[in-house]
Symmetry: C2
Subunit: 464 residues, 2 copies
């Protein structure tokens, strides 16, 4: 490949100039793919082995896709195979592909409605109904290119002016802080209680709200990530009801990021959705955006970019605005839409593909559960490192005791340079001032996880 | 499916309220999927046959996907088929799928680098090099979910303040006006010369620029669509050089929308890229963003949402900002990335899949060419309708003589109600004040096209 030097020549009088870029663009930070990850890629090109624990990207760490999903997608892409390759696929997968193609009307190559293929939205609504025992409406479902795009669509609508505040948990997934900055809203932090398994308390919410209002912020919405990223904590019914009542009391809209709903590891814990609690409370005034994704759970289909947003208690005039803004981007990719169909419509017991599906699913979930324990226990054995149990999601967010003058950024960069382990400093997620953390995924294969813990322990002991 | 009534109940005290939404969101308009299209969907649900001429969505109008693309995508999704189904695929497609899977490292299910899979970006750079006889750098390529997302990424970077102006052709594709409104920049119109086959003139550019500057606008960039949407016009080398010199003189960045580069119908016309002319002029200061897509040309793979943005003459500090903003969205969908690989790397003469590929490609292009002629000639035979030759792209933008007091919006709505033909009023694209137009695609199958023209003629004659 020919090399170009002129396009990145510095100091040249090019027509686009850094000083003319917007403050919002310049201020946006996204640590999950920030300078430490850039350095990791550099080291990898130099031949170093890097263990990427910076991002929830399971299939980059040896997790295999579920067979029924890939079979369905292959048939949807090349429908001739339903006939010519019939012998290579289970009967129920052939049937699903046929239904999907008929339901999509034009297959994978046409733009769908802006909201996504109605047939898939109907399946999502049935999934929510059955999961939660509540009503769900296909017209309130928007299929999105992964959950990130759904969250961005919701924030685009909710942030109406520079004084509009969005409450986010600290620590949080930096998609939230980055998008609030980019859309020029005000980030309003509320702290999760690290000493109490990262639980939320009403006192914390109220004090964060009061402080923001005192600063002239008009608080419009509260974001919640359940199960938590990066904390791994899980909210119970009462906790969720508390957030809903808090939102109602202060006229707030709720954004509920529920992409880790299948990732619950601790015995006795289970996922409860905001939509379910809201319905059970009979709450009809608190506006709710909920998000789900094909990238997490046991699918781990990050590259397909599938997901959905469900809206509840949104007035018709605002719904029209949501649809209009979605329509400018035309529609989510059809493969992602079809993957979402598979997410909400897995093989059922008795179907030919069920046994393999169940084996693959259970294998992935039990591996994740095992790694969550190995990682948290291993980290807690390192003097100066302390972490809560990983109840759910795909991350661990240990607290560090650091030598004076050292930041978690320095620590993570040195860890990378010395061990090849790539994690993200706590500063990228937010933390109580004066504390230091990092986020690591629980995704390295089990046989590597012990080595990761050992390397971390040795590194930490020697870190000055 | 159970019906919900509460989520769209009007006038209820829900926490999200129209009056709190941002002006930018409220002001955004996107006619290609506006009220006329919504009405068309309503009529269709009531059982009416609708001919959707509002959007360039070929596979929704009976265009078939290219076999080698779908075969490649099926194998990439379900790699086991490379072995188990080997007999069902040509050898070169099996080989391409193997290379793609190896090149992507983790297949279709993992997030790629934010810019997209390097292997695909290398293929894009080779394609540009070979198409234009110029150098191209894979690191200057960003794979995007369709070209729309690329255009939005570029505008996000270029619009830095509310006084920043973006010059756009009138008529234009409303993605541009919608995104400029959403990002709170200033839209600066320049008119294409309808009486001269929609050509651009330097005088028009200069007068539009001067007028904007006089109003306090800081003009930052100029957008060009070549071949033109909705005009179907094609720019030659001299025309492009004129725009580049104009941009240089006024310190403007260029956004070149080249998604219709394969759609050239008129004998003697050919597509020339901005990158090529810029290189041939030896121009190293004018910053350029160019866009290409899998949705148009002869692929018509709109639902796969594949495309790329190439950047030239951008300083390193701005490049870092582009990459950062792209990384918040993680990456484009992998199916779209792989479709882009197929776009830039089609079967070559002598390969087993070439003959079928060439037959499918030539069939689609010759149909489109035929329809462009039938449509333009047919429209020109209607008294009170007048249009230029469709030189390229997928649209025709005829001018209408309307009864007094009637707008093109009224006209298009009546046309839909009476004939089932769905087109978009000229006001959605912009037009010289006092004139009226509509945009129709040339995509209805040839056997339907004559009927479309006849229905239009009858409707127009009776329209009061």
């Amino acid at each position: 490949m020919a090399k170009l030097s002129h396009w990145f020549a510095k100091g040249s009088p090019m027509t686009i100039k850094l000083e003319n870029l917007g403050k919002a663009v310049l201020d946006t930070q996204y640590a999950v793919r920030g300078p430490i990850v850039a350095r990791a890629a550099e080291l990898e090109r130099e031949g170093r082995e890097i263990i990427y624990c910076n991002i929830g990207n399971p299939q980059a760490l040896e997790q295999k896709p579920l067979t029924y999903i890939r079979q369905t997608l292959a048939l949807a892409q090349y429908p001739e195979l339903i006939e010519t390759g019939a012998g290579l696929f289970p009967a129920d997968v052939l049937e699903t592909a046929r239904k999907l193609l008929a339901g999509s009307k034009y297959g994978m190559g046409a733009y769908s409605e802006s909201k996504g293929v109605r047939f898939v939205r109907e399946a999502v609504a049935r999934f929510i109904s059955q999961r939660d025992g509540i009503e769900a409406d296909p017209e309130a479902i928007y299929l999105t290119d992964g959950a990130s795009k759904g969250v961005q669509a919701a924030l685009r609508i909710v942030i109406g002016a520079p004084s509009d505040g969005i409450m986010i948990p600290i620590p949080q997934y930096p998609l939230y802080s980055a998008t609030i900055t980019l859309y020029e809203g005000r980030q309003v932090n509320f702290y999760m209680d690290e000493g109490n398994d990262w639980k939320l308390s009403l006192a914390m919410l109220e004090s964060s709200y009061r402080e923001a209002v005192a600063q002239g912020v008009k608080v419009r919405a509260i974001c919640v990530i359940n199960p938590g990223n990066p904390t791994g904590s899980i909210m119970d019914w009462e906790n969720i009801a508390m957030v809903i009542r808090f939102a109602k009391a202060h006229d707030l809209t709720i954004l509920a990021d529920e992409v880790y709903q299948e990732n619950v590891y601790l015995a006795g814990e289970r996922f409860v959705s905001f939509a379910k609690v809201m319905a059970e409370l009979g709450e009809k005034d608190v506006s709710l955006f909920s998000f789900h994704s094909c990238s997490k759970g046991f699918l781990g289909e990050c590259g397909q970019r599938g997901g959905y947003m469900e809206i509840r208690n949104i007035p018709a005039d605002v719904v029209a605005q949501i649809l209009k803004i979605q329509s400018v981007g035309l529609c989510a990719n059809l493969t992602g839409q079809m993957t979402t169909y598979c997410l909400v419509n897995p093989p059922r017991p008795g179907q030919p593909s069920y046994e393999l599906f169940a084996r693959e699913r259970d294998g992935i979930l039990s591996e994740l559960k095992q790694r969550a324990v190995i990682l948290a226990e291993g980290l807690n054995r390192i003097p100066g490192v302390q972490c809560n149990k990983v109840q759910g999601a795909m991350y661990c967010f240990p607290r560090l005791t650091l030598p004076p003058g050292r930041s978690d950024f320095d620590y993570c960069m040195s860890l990378l340079e010395e061990t090849g382990i790539c994690v993200v400093p706590g500063s990228g997620f937010g933390q109580v001032p004066g504390t230091a953390h990092f986020r690591t995924t629980i995704l390295p294969p089990t046989y590597k996880m012990k080595m990761v813990v050992e390397k971390l322990a040795a590194f930490h002991a020697a870190y000055k």
